[in-house]
């Protein structure tokens, strides 16, 4: 056989591989959207306001800053961030609902808005009472121990040790009853038969300090929030609260590998506008925020926060599905927990 007969298909295959690899590298969820979009009747002709229901320093503050910058880079429209922290997001939501429905005010919010509605239907349903423009961060949780821990070293030895403590073992968690963290811990303790004392820390720094200083035995957190401790070799994950372990944590047991059978809950952050905003303005905002998700600056930001390990993007319809299913899941769990669902 002539070597050219071999060369041709091999070359074709190599080219195909290179092309597909490039596509894979370059592919981003909203690459298919147009690079620009005409402003409907001049909207927006002034800066947008983004209400952020949390402080500028936390995860929400940071994602708001990154998204606002990406939208501005893309469209040239400035975005003023207005932080209104307090009340687990209630203050910011209330302030947003009081603003005009002209499209000039957008809201950043997290899954707490969904769980709040699940518990009290008087609170706005983010899928129906608001219009999701984009969900730009979706992440999962893990359980961490100190790297130099010698009482247990992995998930199985941890479970065994906790059971031997007869309810005295401690885990640092966030405070709010009915939160994603609390509900997930209930799933885990119910499934394993562990009894643990959850210590409520509503701020990250003391929560992480408690594990680093040996004040608690373990920590429940999302990987992006403790990345610096992971990179510094201070903490190590022993359980990933996902059905299948992502490649970055391939050696950490997933729910399936740990024999835990429940649907994991996710932490997600997104951006919303009012119901009642003129349709053409909504379309422009959807384009701007969804397209901004694929701006390099935003992608770099998400990567730095481990927000690229699972698909972090949802468009309006995808966000509605995510929120609706999350609300249903929370509501079922709350009823099971005996919480009063209004």
């Amino acid at each position: 056989m002539n070597y050219k007969e071999y060369l041709m298909p091999v070359a074709t295959m190599v080219v195909a591989m290179v092309v597909s690899a490039n596509v894979a590298i370059a592919a981003c969820a909203t690459d298919g959207l147009p690079d620009s979009m005409e402003k409907p009747s001049g909207f927006p002709e002034r800066a947008l306001t983004m209400i952020v229901p949390y402080g500028p320093a936390g995860g929400s503050g940071q994602v708001a800053q990154a998204m606002a910058q990406a939208v501005t880079d893309l469209t040239g429209v400035a975005i003023n961030r207005d932080h209104k922290p307090g009340g687990s997001g209630t203050v910011g939501m209330t302030a947003f609902m009081a603003t005009p429905t002209d499209g000039y005010t957008v809201l950043e919010h997290i899954d707490d808005a969904s769980s709040a509605h699940a518990l009290d239907s008087g609170r706005p349903n983010p899928a129906e009472g608001l219009i999701p423009l984009v969900v730009s961060q979706i992440t999962f949780s893990q359980i961490y121990i100190r790297e130099n821990e010698d009482r247990f070293t992995d998930w199985n030895s941890f479970v065994e040790w906790v059971k031997a403590q007869d309810g005295k073992a401690t885990i640092a968690n966030v405070s709010k009853e009915g939160s994603m963290e609390r509900v997930t811990m209930k799933f885990i303790t119910d499934a394993t038969g562990m009894k643990m004392q959850q210590i409520s820390f509503d701020k990250g720094a003391p929560r992480y300090g408690a594990l680093a200083g040996g004040q608690v035995d373990a920590l429940f957190e999302q990987p992006g929030d403790v990345r610096k401790f992971l990179d510094a070799g201070k903490f190590k994950p022993i359980l990933t609260v996902l059905k299948e372990a992502p490649a970055a944590f391939a050696d950490v047991p997933s729910l399936k590998e740990a024999g835990l059978d429940f649907e994991p809950l996710f932490r997600f952050r997104g951006f919303y506008t009012h119901v009642g905003v003129p349709e053409d303005r909504v379309k422009w905002l959807q384009w701007a925020f969804q397209k901004a998700f694929c701006q390099k600056s935003y992608q770099d930001f998400n990567e730095s926060k481990y927000m690229n390990l699972i698909e972090s993007f949802r468009d309006t319809e995808g966000a509605k599905e995510l929120i609706t299913s999350t609300i249903k899941q929370y509501r079922d769990v709350y009823k099971e927990m005996g919480l009063e669902v209004k």
Partner: protein
């Protein structure tokens, strides 16, 4: 020697960077000015600058805030002395003697003493901080958990109750009022909504900055306005005579005592400079042979208070850097600066960013020295504020205070809180309650409630768990002894320091 070498490295890094020098000087002057301008404070400046620090490097942002902290604590003394409006709670005792000195035409002496003693207290505190922070950081996270922090807060509260009010009981009632205000909003453990009266904005709780502005600045305007209306208002006399060196040397023991007190108090998280100033002042009264002269314009009162509150600035950086625990409002904002740069104050900062820590240390050291140089130059200008007629100054103070209250969280309710606190403070001061005590109760109450709940969870809701934690137990016992001692003093010795009449 390692610390000295690190300090030199920090100094070189600070002064070899033109932008760093610019930010340093901006912080020094800005802190002094905002501390000195009535109605606003270093906190207002910090709140305004906070979002902009995102565009600075972490070193520059944190250095800026630490410099503002050092010079702002001093700057607040100016308004306390000139207008009886403390720039911050830590300057409140300065007003006890500083304001009467102004009324006697000795404003220059009082401000000059504040400049020198603030610089001295702050510089020595910075030196001790540099020598002590790193070792503390090594053991802090393992030694200080929620039970220990709660015990520290309890201990701080027991001392705080003995200052500022006319009687011990009014002091305690003031503290308890502050603690009650602290529970408004979501509970820090279960997220339970409390005392919101169906107003969503109250879920965010009552913030201490508008409360401070109301209790101190707004209520003082009401006090002065009342005097104006009733015809007893007297415009203060103007003078720029600074104290002589001999006058200051004569008070060397008061300076040393206040440095020790200030540094110790500064280490207590959530208390810091405020308690330092009150305790420094109180101890000056206790050890003086001329007790009757305090509150009537005695230089030692200003010296003791200002030395102590600046001595607390360096010390307050220890719980912030070692534990991630802010010692007061400004150090709380510094946490925000850290987090904006994806960092958390705490021992990991020493591990991950030692260069940042030493640039900050060097900046604080030189900021305190700068108080001496710039303070004297600035003072001669600022004293001329006394020339502004009250009817023009008062609206300006109210305007600036309103902006300052709103700027903290962008909530109108904070402005409402400020004015309510102003009215309530006006009446409370007339009846001998301590508005500083209320503010302390509010600040410490939030920290104390959270750490108490965490401590009880960690100790499995068994009080006996504190016995197994020697530091927490010692602090709790010391706090209880302090309460017993103050009760004994109130009944049998009458040694309690009464608030000077003009404050009532």
């Amino acid at each position: 020697m390692q610390s000295f070498s690190n300090f030199l490295d920090g100094t070189i890094a600070l002064f070899s960077d033109p932008l760093g020098i610019l930010i340093f000087l901006g912080g020094v002057i800005g802190g002094m000015l905002f501390g000195a301008i009535p109605g606003v404070s270093m906190l207002t400046l910090a709140a305004i600058l906070l979002p902009f620090t995102a565009h600075l490097s972490a070193e520059h942002g944190i250095m800026l805030f630490s410099v503002i902290y050092c010079t702002g604590v001093y700057g607040g003394a100016i308004t306390a002395i000139l207008f009886n409006i403390p720039g911050a709670p830590e300057n409140a005792p300065t007003a006890f003697d500083g304001y009467p000195m102004t009324q006697k035409g000795l404003a220059g002496k009082a401000v000059g003493a504040a400049v020198m003693c603030s610089a001295l207290g702050g510089t020595i505190s910075a030196v001790i901080m540099m020598a002590a922070t790193a070792p503390i950081a090594d053991w802090a996270i393992s030694a200080f958990g929620p039970p220990e922090i709660f015990a520290l807060v309890f201990f701080g509260l027991t001392v705080a109750a003995s200052v500022g009010a006319k009687t011990l009981w009014k002091g305690w009632l003031s503290i308890l009022a502050g603690l009650m205000i602290a529970v408004v909003g979501l509970d820090p453990v279960g997220g339970i909504e409390r005392y919101d009266f169906n107003m969503p904005y109250l879920l965010a709780g009552i913030h201490f900055i508008p409360t401070i502005l109301g209790f101190f600045a707004v209520s003082e305007i009401f006090v002065q306005a009342e005097k104006k209306v009733t015809g007893v208002y007297k415009a203060p006399k103007l003078s720029v005579d600074f104290p002589s060196l001999a006058e200051l040397i004569a008070h060397k023991f008061a300076v040393i005592r206040s440095i020790v007190i200030g540094f110790f108090c500064g280490i207590l998280p959530g208390i810091g400079a405020t308690l330092a100033a009150f305790m420094g002042y109180n101890e000056a009264v206790r050890w003086s042979k001329q007790r009757d002269e305090f509150g009537k314009g005695k230089l030692e009162g200003v010296i003791s208070s200002e030395t102590a509150n600046n001595a607390a600035t360096g010390a307050a950086m220890i719980p912030l850097l070692a534990l991630g625990l802010p010692g007061g409002a400004l150090t709380a904002m510094m946490v925000g600066v850290f987090q904006m740069h994806d960092m958390e104050p705490g021992p990991l900062v020493f591990l991950n960013s030692p260069e940042l820590v030493w640039v900050v240390f060097a900046a604080m050291f030189f900021a305190n020295l700068s108080i001496l140089l710039i303070g004297f130059l600035e003072t001669k200008t600022i004293i001329n504020l006394l020339r502004i007629p009250f009817q023009f100054l008062a609206p300006l103070i109210l305007l600036l205070a309103t902006v300052g209250a709103y700027a903290v969280r962008g909530l109108v309710i904070d402005v409402v809180v400020m004015f309510v606190a102003g009215v309530v403070g006006f009446f409370l001061r007339r009846s001998g309650y301590s508005v500083a005590g209320i503010v302390l109760g509010l600040i410490l109450g939030k920290i104390g409630e959270q750490t108490f709940a965490q401590a009880m969870q960690m100790l499995h809701f068994e009080w006996s768990g504190f016995i197994g934690r020697p530091i927490a137990l010692s602090l709790l016992i010391a706090g209880i002894l302090t309460i017993l001692g103050s009760i004994y003093g109130a009944f049998f010795k009458r040694s309690h320091t009464e608030m000077p009449e003009h404050q009532g």
